[in-house]
Symmetry: C2
Subunit: 300 residues, 2 copies
């Protein structure tokens, strides 16, 4: 068995879904969970997602051959600090945080002698739902997971974490943490920033009523993610400050050129910009269909 | 019967759905259709959406007591010019275009003596699907329609068009064309511009591959509308140039303040902005649920 004893720190949608998937695939044996929310830990045990809830981080990781840290990015440092004293040497440590540079920095600061076994990771899945009750063994099927091992990380550690995610149905890619953060700043953090800026701009033009009364499905689709947890996203934005700033700068240039084209009544420039976007967006839709994705119901 | 003989110019998703809804409600009798695409006209007749296809605009409007112009905004002038010679006096003329100032200007230029019977209108429905085959009698149920009568428009004409839309299940609101265009610039045209700018920014940061490989559902939701027809949206953008420019300026200010907050590591400002957006977005979701909307499946 790939993982005999898994310590799962943070039993929410992502952690719960991973535990379900690994159990279903027979990739892991005993699962011991830990969570800042004790009720959630009990519910997860009731749902059969974990075998046991640990009273603290030290107890959770003692004897584990792999630790999966599935907590919000803002809590990574506290968790690393908490697991360190009890962490057996040669125990794999991986996580699911959406900003990898911050995780690498926290690992360097707090898990020094464990770095050969540290494999930062990020499953790229939508997070519109949340909570262990929404977890599913199928959440990662056909989805991509990026691993960003450190130079110190042993190749065998990366391979084991890769095998873990593949057993959950994911497609794994390995890259440098900084490249991950640059890409995700554009593909995930920037969209979130825009959704929020759009809602706020509509309020400024038409008052809160405008967003409620004069919008159709397109606006609803665009701004759905603006309903996510503000504190969680503040932490992501600040953890990926530099790359998000660069992505915003790049986006601002796109907006500027469109704004110029509109000001000058330049139909050809507007059309070219719309076609560029459509070409890639259509390819994305085709690619997602080919992976069997994109059929989840949209919410209001 | 509210409308004995309806001339439907443009038999696509919107026109076809309106004809279906009016027939289902018993609001209209005979429907004569006209479309630049002759095949589409035949398909619409085959589907029972229209009773007869007219060979030209003059034939379509002869004897009609109401004309619904359901063509892309870029074709409005040509249609108004085409119907004018055969248009009976006292025949209602309404449309479904997404920019009302342009329709008012076209009506003033081309339908002078008919202005008392001209009632520009705009059903606010998502346009992700298209084509008469996707038309549905339920498309407008619970959705808002804005009417923007001219000062010359007779009150009774506005009331008849309002009754027509209400019989299709829509909620009707009357406002000035300019206010409509200002609001929709923010709630509809700006989101479309952003979706395209976002796709283009992602391509600039990570290449076309990035959009395909490293995006999750949030990006898919945000950019779905970027797959719509570029020519159609170019025409909308240019028809609503001034208000869209103002909305882009307002949006740019939102992006700037977020960018500043990120640059200065100002967590409180970031959090406040995220909370503002979430509050209104949550209210929108609740409002749409209360109207029974927002349950349509999302596409890839």
């Amino acid at each position: 068995m790939l993982i005999e004893r898994l310590a799962l720190i943070g039993v929410g949608l992502i952690g719960g879904s991973l535990a379900r998937a690994l159990r279903a695939a027979g990739t892991c044996g005993y699962v011991i969970g830990q969570d800042i929310d004790h009720d959630r830990l009990e519910r997860a045990q009731g749902l059969g997602i974990i075998d046991e809830g640990a009273p603290d981080l030290g107890t959770a990781v003692a004897g584990a051959d792999a630790v999966v840290v599935a907590v919000p990015i803002g809590a990574i440092r506290a968790v690393f600090a908490g697991i360190r004293p009890g962490l057996p040497i040669r125990t794999l440590v991986t996580d699911v945080g959406s900003v990898k540079g911050a995780v690498v920095a926290a690992a360097r600061a707090l898990l020094g002698e464990h770095l050969p076994y540290v494999v930062p990771g990020h499953p790229i899945v939508g997070a519109e739902r949340s909570g262990v009750e929404s977890s599913s063994a199928q959440l990662f099927a056909g989805q991509r997971v990026i691993l960003t091992p450190l130079p110190e990380t042993m190749r065998s550690a990366t391979e084991r974490v890769q095998a873990m995610w593949e057993s959950a149905g994911a497609e794994v890619e390995v890259m440098e943490a900084d490249r991950h953060d640059e890409l995700l700043a554009a593909t995930s953090h920037l969209p979130h920033a825009l959704a929020c800026a759009l809602v706020n701009a509509v309020i400024r033009v038409g008052g809160p009523e405008a967003a409620l009364r004069y919008t159709a499905g397109g606006f609803g689709d665009l701004t759905r993610i603006a309903s996510s947890s503000p504190a969680l996203w503040r932490d992501i934005f600040l953890a990926n400050r530099e790359h998000l700033f660069a992505a915003l700068t790049c986006f601002r240039a796109e907006i500027e050129s469109l704004r110029e084209a509109i000001a000058h009544d330049d139909g050809e420039a507007v059309l070219a910009s719309l076609w560029d976007a459509k070409t890639v967006r259509d390819a994305l839709a085709a690619e997602r269909r080919s992976r069997g994705l994109g059929t989840s119901p949209s919410r209001p």
